[in-house]
Amino acid sequence: MQNYSSYGLDDVFMRTFMMPAVMPNAVNIPQMNVQDNISTISQNNNGYNMMNQNKFVNPTEGFLRGNMEAGTYLPYKNMTYLRPVINGEKQNALYKLQEIAFAAHDINLYLDTHPNDANAIRLYNEYNKQEKKLNDEYERKYGPIDLSDDEGLNVTPWAWIKEPWPWNE
């Protein structure tokens, strides 16, 4: 296991501000006028995600936006989104987990109304697999997130009760 104590400066360097990720666009942006960042997942050599490259943005962009579906992002006024400031390995590990969990979840909603989209189903399973992997890695290092997982719970004292709870993160 990687030694993460050298990254224990998270709290010290925790910032209270966020940096603008995207410069303001023109005021009164009409819907669908945003250039979508096409999924980079199509770079993998399985090829099956190529079909989805016009349907979804990549998880990094999708999570920042709060919208995985290409062409439907609707910014408010001259604002797009703000990039949360992430400091330290622990915060970053959590952020990457939230990011991939969101990507899988948003495609889950899409699939509820498009149940025959086999390519989206493959993409869901791919993100879901990545989520499980990142979740396990986080739990091994920092403690349990899900009670149903194997990781992080077989220690004394009972690790579930350990801080931080999400509202104190």
Binding site: M14, R15, T16, F17, M18, P20, F63, R65, G66, N67, E69, T72, Y73, L74, Y76, M79, T80, Y81, L82, R83, P84, V85, I86, Q91, L94, Y95, L97, Q98, A101, F102, H105, D106, N108, L109, Y110, D112, T113, H114, P115, P144, I145, D146, L147, S148, W160, W165, P166, W167, E169
Partner: protein, 186 residues
């Protein structure tokens, strides 16, 4: 059943006390267009959806709304953390402090407690979905008002993100609503 996951859906890190914004943002916990209203609206309506697709969508969006309730509560909690009675008085929160201290309680921005009359179920999927579409639009409008009021990027960021979720949910409900209308309103 539900499983709790010990993480937020999107990061919240508000380090600056902000009682004025806490008084406004609480609306998305216990106001008419709140995340709590949304969660209970969809989770109640899901039982009488006419097909598996509708049950799934109402279930899954209703579940996500519970995660949004947690995000909003976290924001209010962090904005109020460490506030003194004098500071609360100055922000017009003395009534809230009297009733609840610094604890969370679902009210709107004017302190009016949440009530189940903020949503309805009719058992008619087309009617229920029309309410859901309107609810997503009204929640989006409230988020925009909150973004207009916000003076801290650590608050604006999550509000923009939650606003975008209203847009996505609207699009999904619209797809289902159009399908049901074509199916049942021939």
């Amino acid at each position: 059943m539900w499983k709790y996951s010990k993480k937020l859906q999107y990061p919240i890190n508000i380090k600056r006390k902000n009682l004025k914004m806490a008084k406004a943002v609480i609306s998305q916990y216990g106001g008419a267009q709140s995340e709590l209203s949304a969660a209970l609206r969809y989770l109640n309506q899901r039982y009488t959806m006419p097909d598996a697709k509708g049950k799934a969508l109402l279930n899954d969006i209703g579940t996500e709304e519970l995660a949004h309730v947690e995000m909003i509560c976290t924001m209010v909690y962090q904005m109020m953390k460490g506030a003194t009675p004098d500071e609360l008085k100055e922000a017009g929160l003395e009534g809230n402090y009297t009733e609840h201290g610094l604890a969370l309680f679902p009210t709107d921005a004017n302190g009016v407690p949440w009530t189940s009359t903020y949503f309805s179920t009719t058992g008619d999927p087309v009617a229920d979905l029309e309410e859901d579409l309107a609810a997503e639009q009204k929640a989006r409008a409230v988020y925009e008002h909150l973004i207009d009021l916000s003076d801290d990027p650590a608050i604006t960021g999550p509000l923009l993100w939650l606003r975008q979720r209203e847009v996505v949910h609207y699009n999904r409900f619209k797809e289902l609503s159009d399908e049901y209308k074509a199916k049942y309103y021939k």
